[in-house]
Amino acid sequence: MSLHQLTAHALLDLIKSGKTSPKEAYADVLMRVLAVDPKVKAYVHMAHCEPDFSGAMPIPIAIKDNLCTKQEEITCASRILKGFISPYDAGVIERVKNSGGTILGIVNMDEFAFGSSCETSCYGPTYNPWNLECVPGGSSGGSAASVAADEATWALGSDTGGSIRQPASFCGIVGLKPTYGRVSRYGLIAFASSLDQIGPLTKDVRDCALLMNIISGYDQRDSTSVNEAVPDYTKALVNDVRGLKIGIPKEAFVEGLNGEVRQAVEDSLNLLKKLGAVIKEVSLPHTPYAVATYYIVATAEASSNLARFDGVRFGLRAQPASVRKNALVDMYEETRSKGFGDEAKRRIMLGTYALSSGYYDAYYLRGQKARTLIKNDLDEVFKDCDVIMTPTSPTVSFKVGEKISDPLSMYLSDIYTIPANLAGIPAISIPCGFSKSGLPIGLQLMGKAFDEEMLLRVSYTYEQNTEWHLKKPNL
């Protein structure tokens, strides 16, 4: 195998044994980017600075375009942030750099992470390495595609309603959304502050544990980060699920779930049962309200979070040719009209409405109450289960353009992933099969807060007993 195809842990072994060097590995991955990125279009731009190769974990990494990285243009794939060069490193970027990580470049996403297909980017779509006519999922589509196409050894993404797990599922790789507060959000350009969490996208479960070791931990610059000891996640990589209780929510197997996905999940369930896990049917009665709840809470927060993109201090500033109201209001309106894409505008309007005087109680407040109910459902199930298993997404990847004009059906793409964000619990997506058309299928496991180790253990066991994660797309 070429260096770019290796997992991070395999690459580290080669580096440690002197069979290759960090610089050679980095160069090999870069060559791969040059070769296939014109087709995949995962990268927004390559890093401007030559990395330091002397660190302990010199793994070539791709960074989502919403993680502030010093001296790099960070835009959230939005015209409104064009020209914004970050003067600082996000908490996770500091951690990656301190570990010796070698940043390859900045990868594509849905504009402001608003989307499930990577099509709302101002740079145009990224393509699924398994089928270049299909979407890589989103919003961390660039992160997932770059790892799946061996254009990065691993990548960082962010997950507000499934934005790490759904693209990981569509691209046949591993993606973890950690517990809310496990990873510092300092430097993550906020979509919905109470839901956002940064996490790893990797080629296998061991890499996921390794990258979690790097990025996890308290950061005093983020009041929502939690000061709780970080375990060595690789210690959780035990090939044994005997006696573990896996909950299967009956609400998950509903209309709209693709037959092949359903089959793959059922096969996975049977495999885990065979390996000694106890399968329990459980109920999450309020999950049917999850998508609606999410689109109130998330858009409300987003409408406020995106207010700072006003043309005053950074990014795009536009002025209409002639005065409409007054110079200031004209500048705001023109900048935001030109700077934001359709989906961003749609969500800003939805969120502004939900927070408006007279509607607040009916929407935002009610949304928060529903959120509590959904969290209570999960807490209840976790009293007697170690993990909850569902598909990651009701379908495999779809064609570019297929759903872009139908936002509602696009929103339903996150039906399985949203509850974990609303409840703040960790969830992982791992490869569990392929459709007849050759597109990857993902399996989602949700765990208790701060019990990423349980997710890693079950995922690792599953991975050790399957070969889905070893398959590579033909590019």
């Binding site: 919403n66 300092y186 993550l188 610059r221 009041s223 207010a307 700072r308 005053v312 005087s357």
Partner: protein, 478 residues
């Protein structure tokens, strides 16, 4: 007597003098060159997050306790959303439904009447930046140094019944805040700002009239003048059969008029919601008790104590209490020299005059309480006269030397020895035979004139008591 009753409520914004800003670690400092006291957090750069400055919270609790308010132990911050170029995030972090303090009061004296003014709430928030309008290039420049300065907004009930009461409330509030040491309360620097809500209603009505809100007053005097103007305007409109429109008005100090800023229809919908970046938390009652234990003695309590403990007059006590530095100075001096009335006279008289002349505060003077009481003692002991004592004080402040040193250097000690004084007295008696006759004929008060003449001849250095004694004895032989 007007047929209307005036109803006023005030909102005071106070900058807290914490070391750092409320949500980042930038220095909380006034007067830096534009945009030098900023960081990614207070500039609202993408990805940055606020972290609460605990000290600002403690200051807020302190203000709440001093205003006799209930302290909310549940601390929560909300976003107030609106667009303005001096507001980097497009929202201000403030407190909406859980202000740090609520339901308090402040007692004020207006004329000879004591009155309790209700405090609805006091909440913490961040200050915005400042826009500088550059007329030469027809553009506005934004300075974000002030962004993130901790503020506490103190809102009264509509309990004030006249512009004068509003003025008295502001002075009492300011003094209370100065005692707390949480702010320099300087309206010129903008560390204290005041908006006023005013309405009028027919005397006897209990329903509030339509109010207008006044902004842009840059002194307490201006608040009073603006309110007087606005009350008159309300009366004129209503008496002419018109209706007051609910609106926000700007006070124009130069023209002494109010100008419409925005009407109710243009009022913002701030879309308040809990700031998800700042997790709500509960403060331990021990923290609140700790702040309470450290509260200084407040001016009204100090006033009563000064009167009862030291036997000061209301007038003297008022002067001392009106400046926390002065009150402390008084009590320190008292430890060195236990004559309260005499120290109070000096502080409220010559010392206060020197402070005003020099435009300095008592803490800035080169005069320790020890130095001052030495001077007072010299006057009391007759070493120098009261008049010369004031001269000595001026010299002490100019030269930074002690009273004894000045008296010695300038030869200001009073002449008290009989032989030197007798020479002067004989001269004065010889020159004023008519006055001498009056005294002899049983009008001893006429001696005062001779004392004055002798005083003049001595260059003010003669001891007047002694002079009086010697003159009387000389003339009457008593």
């Amino acid at each position: 007597m007007s047929q209307f009753e005036t109803v006023i409520g005030l909102e005071v914004h106070l900058q807290l003098n914490t070391k750092t800003k409320i949500f980042c670690s930038c220095a909380n400092q006034y007067g830096c060159p534009p945009n030098t006291n900023v960081c990614p957090v207070c500039l609202g750069l993408p990805g940055t997050l606020p972290v609460l400055n605990h000290q600002a919270l403690l200051s807020g609790i302190k203000v709440g306790l001093a205003l006799n308010a209930e302290i909310n132990s549940f601390i929560k911050f909300d976003r107030k959303n609106y667009y303005y170029p001096d507001l980097p995030k497009g929202y201000q972090i403030s407190q909406f439904d859980f202000p740090v303090a609520k339901k308090g009061f402040l007692n004020i004296k207006s004329g000879n009447q004591e009155k309790r003014i209700g405090i609805t709430r006091a909440h913490l928030e961040e200050d915005a930046g400042k826009l500088v309008h550059d007329n030469s290039s027809n553009c506005s420049l934004a300075d974000f140094n002030r962004t993130g300065t901790p503020l506490i907004e103190i809102v009264t009930e509509p309990d004030l019944r006249s512009p004068q009461e509003a003025y008295d409330y502001l002075n009492t509030l300011k003094l209370t805040l100065q005692y707390l040491g949480v702010s320099d309360c300087d309206m010129e620097k903008g560390s204290l700002r005041c908006d006023a809500n005013v309405s009028i209603r027919p005397v006897g009505d209990t329903k509030l009239g339509t109010k207008t809100e006044l902004k842009n007053m840059n002194s307490f005097r201006a608040v009073k003048t603006a309110l007087e103007y606005e009350v008159r305007r309300h009366e004129q409109v209503i008496l002419a059969g018109g209706k007051i429109v609910q609106e926000t008005l700007l006070w124009n100090d130069e023209k002494a008029i109010t100008i419409t800023m925005r009407s109710k229809e243009q009022a913002h919908d701030y879309r308040y919601f809990p700031d998800p970046d700042l997790v709500p938390f509960t403060i331990d009652y021990k923290v609140i008790d700790g702040v309470r234990a450290e509260l200084p003695e407040l001016p009204q309590v100090k006033f009563i104590r000064f009167v009862s403990q030291y036997g000061l007059t209301d007038y003297d006590a008022n002067i001392l209490v009106a400046d926390p530095g002065m009150a402390d100075y008084f009590e320190t001096s008292l430890k060195e020299y236990p004559h309260a009335k005499k120290i109070a006279n000096w502080l409220g008289g010559p010392v206060l005059m020197e402070l005003n002349n020099r435009k300095k505060s008592i803490g800035e003077l080169k005069l320790s309480p020890k130095d001052l009481v030495v001077l007072i003692a010299r006057v009391e002991d007759g070493v120098v006269s009261n008049l010369v004592g004031k001269e000595v004080l001026t010299a002490m402040l100019d030269e930074g030397k002690g009273a004894d040193e000045i008296i010695k250097e300038k030869g200001l000690a009073q002449v008290s020895d009989d032989s030197s004084l007798m020479l002067i007295i004989d001269e004065v008696i010889a020159q004023n035979p008519a006055v001498v006759e009056q005294i002899k004929s049983g009008k001893p008060n006429a001696a005062g004139f001779l004392v004055g003449q002798a005083m003049k001849k001595s260059g003010g250095r003669a001891n007047p008591k002694k002079l009086n004694e010697l003159i009387t004895r000389r003339i009457t032989g008593a």
